[in-house]
Symmetry: C2
């Protein structure tokens, strides 16, 4: 299978760099094809702006959505954006690997999402009507592909537990896993987390690699997070609120996951 690893850490000799190298070798040894978008090494342009298309009139008002739509339709996107979209089309599975900085992905990776996720590619896809609010949340151009986060953090696992001070890790990652990955169609696997990164000696690194290797071996076997698809009846359209008989009395992120299904 084809795996795209999008990786965001500024230091190749870091724990993140070592885990990235491990993943590439492990996947290749298993017979998969791997491409890596090493965003720092590529000096990825993080800022979404008017320079992201090649056909814009000088002085014209810049509209982030409509300019993205026009450039995607006309084939006038910046080359770096089009190349990343080609990698996404090629991939059967996508891994986003990053250190958790201020409870989200590093800016360089956020900028990869903002620029590569063009209008017509990752949003604004499909019919928008009173019964079908676009191909999104379970449908879309990336449907049929799998995605997984690999995330490191200095904090302790308990700090990210159900009653931990930072909030539960699943909720912290919901805007990424649901809002960035499930939205354009990915099946999203549970994240692979590494906590308390400053305490990583050789023995622990070896154990982390064993666990990560298992997750990579299971990339096509692990059950995805059962997010509810938007257009299959669970939501009223266009309000896009859960129908009253779905997860009755529940609210918040967790209501959008079909537990025990």
């Amino acid at each position: 299978m084809n795996v795209l690893l999008v990786y965001a850490h500024p230091e190749s000799s870091s724990l993140n760099g070592s885990l990235k190298n491990f993943s590439v070798k492990h996947l290749e040894d298993a017979g998969h094809k791997v491409q890596v978008s090493d965003l720092y090494a590529m000096q990825w342009k993080a800022i979404l702006d008017a320079d992201d298309s090649t056909d814009r009139q000088p002085g014209a008002r810049f509209d982030p959505s409509l300019d993205s739509k026009r450039a995607f339709e006309n084939g006038t996107q910046s080359q770096d954006i089009a190349l990343e979209q080609d990698k996404l089309r090629w991939a059967d599975a996508v891994i986003l690997q990053f250190p958790l900085w201020w409870f989200s992905m590093p800016a360089i990776l956020k900028g990869w999402v903002e620029r590569v996720y063009a209008y017509g590619f990752a949003y604004g896809v499909g019919e928008h009507s009173d019964t079908h609010w676009g191909d999104r949340y379970g449908e879309g151009m990336l449907a049929g592909k799998r995605a997984m986060l690999v995330v490191t953090t200095g904090g302790w696992e308990s700090h990210y537990g159900p009653r931990g001070i930072n909030g539960p890790i699943d909720d912290i990652l919901f805007p990424i896993q649901h809002g960035i990955l499930y939205y354009p169609g990915f099946d999203v696997l549970p994240p692979f987390m590494v906590y308390r990164t400053s305490r990583t000696d050789e023995a622990r690194f070896s154990k982390i690699c064993d666990e990560l290797g298992q997750r990579l071996d299971d990339l096509w076997k692990t059950a995805p997070i059962p997010f509810r698809p938007q257009n299959a009846g669970a939501y009223a359209i266009p309000e896009l609120t859960l129908r009253s008989d779905i997860a009755a009395d529940q609210y918040g992120f967790d209501a959008h996951i079909a537990r025990g299904g």
Copy 2:
């Protein structure tokens, strides 16, 4: 009072640009001093990397935390970072204004947080012991100051409601309001949200300005979100989990807010 407005939108003639101009004028007319960090106009460097300090040895391994600590302590941070820290010290209130892109802040603003929030300035502050896990979540260098988000989104308010498909807006913003603003000490006011931005005619714009103006008038009167301080007894240290008698049986983001207090 002194207000810092950190603003992230690429087009000055956008709704965001108009709201930013409105806020500046409204605050100045009320006698406040205002500084604006217009990140796109400043061509703010979004990427945290080894170039963020001036005294790094060529070829040395880059450690995002430890290099930030050294540069902050030694006064060898990049000038752009030190200037933004000075603005934060100067400010009595800070407003972060941005369009919600993929359920978070634009990359350029995330990069502002990552670079300006140095080790020793916004984290790694205060005693770390078995009874006091750093000055954070209610304590820290920015304690005594107020912060508020002004956020625009194309989606409908119902999409961000308690059972809306995107998840509740308060939960989507929790990693920012709690994790980025409350963490270094800010008192965080409820956000000012503008939904369905594509439907903004003159009458609606005028109404939005009236409501935003009221929020700005009330900047020092509005009750902050009652997040629970870390070191005041609600959390076990060092596990940093809520003690069993606090918000018993609750879990998730909401447990960290002292309702009805």
